[in-house]
Symmetry: C2
Subunit: 214 residues, 2 copies
């Protein structure tokens, strides 16, 4: 018989009317029936570096092994949860904060969560990391040189940013702060998508997150 | 061999720089390995009506059957994703909007999502419903008379609201609009929590969402 555990603690918030509810089930019990260790893979990098493409391949290969996953894609979230946010620094910060909070909820649901968003600022990536346990967050630097991203320009955005048509475009008119010590560093100008996804899966195996060889 | 499907469609947003990414996996493939039909159970009702208690029991009984669930509790969300929001009407509307968007993401992840929040306004509950398919959203009215909720007052909040210490308190100084046609109507003043959870599970069986008898 399985028994639930790891319920969220009850504590008072400063605000007067809300109190955290203890739930019978927690992260451990929800992940237990998925036979996996929940995790956040946080993929950061320039537009055009290949974040979404690699994230999609990782998810598909994890799924083929029976793992329970979800992708939180920065662009897709801006059609729903984050549709009220701008691309100013403040809008980007809140975009990352909300994404990290949703990733944490999905971690609590027992999933392997793949976050794919430019997330240009070190500070917000650090805050995302600090929301969860040290062994529950892996930063993946999806790295391609800016000139390579500009050459690829899959959506024609760099051309328009350079023409002054898009304000606050990361790498052109808004900064990108590369990770200092990402757990995984992918050079997308040096390998194909299957190789890159394989590098991530190898690291997950090495850390005991997954056992299969997808 | 299982094959993925139900990928999100690619479409352009009005904003110039973002485009929805097509993902290989979609709701169907993610729920397929969970052997279940994803669903949102939206539990609405007054403070003290018993939403969290019944939600917790439903989740535990679904989990005992091997179902993959997550609870989105309105109070708990205000410690994280929604910690920037107030209890004004505007804050409550945004609270419900974000919760509904996160529930939709979890539906996409293949989960049975139990939302437990006062959600006092009909309009926002309708908007939450309209985010997803007609057979993916069940509104559960967790109903107890206001005087019964005030008598229970498990957190001492009604007493403080009546003393004028809590502004915008639903049922006292802020309206609650009961559902017109909830799929499930629970009278928590007339049955115990196991009976009430059983009523919800019976309805899920009747609709073919679950097969087991937890």
């Amino acid at each position: 018989m399985i028994t639930p555990g790891n319920a969220a603690p009850s504590r008072m918030l400063e605000a007067p009317t809300i109190r955290q509810h203890s739930l019978t089930l927690g992260k451990n019990s929800r992940s237990q029936i998925k036979s996996q260790k929940p995790l956040i893979l946080w993929m950061t990098g320039l537009s055009g570096a290949g974040k979404s493409t690699v994230a999609d391949r990782i998810e598909h290969r994890l799924w083929q092994c029976g793992h329970h996953t979800m992708i939180l894609d920065g662009d897709n979230l801006r059609f729903g949860l984050n549709k009220d946010l701008t691309f100013t620094d403040a809008g980007r910060v809140e975009n990352i904060r909300r994404t990290a909070e949703v990733a944490k909820l999905m971690l609590d649901a027992g999933l392997i969560v793949i976050c794919s968003l430019i997330s240009p600022f070190r500070r917000e990536r650090t805050e995302a990391r600090q929301l969860v346990g040290a062994d529950e967050f892996l930063e993946v630097f999806v790295d391609a040189p800016l000139d390579e991203c500009m050459r690829r320009d899959p959506k024609g955005l760099y051309a328009r940013a350079l023409a002054g048509q898009i304000p606050n475009f990361t790498g052109i008119s808004s900064p990108y702060e590369p990770p200092d010590a990402p757990e995984i560093h992918l050079r997308t100008d040096m390998a194909d998508v299957d190789t890159l996804a394989g590098q991530v899966l190898d690291e997950l195996r090495r850390r005991g997150i997954i056992a299969c060889v997808p």
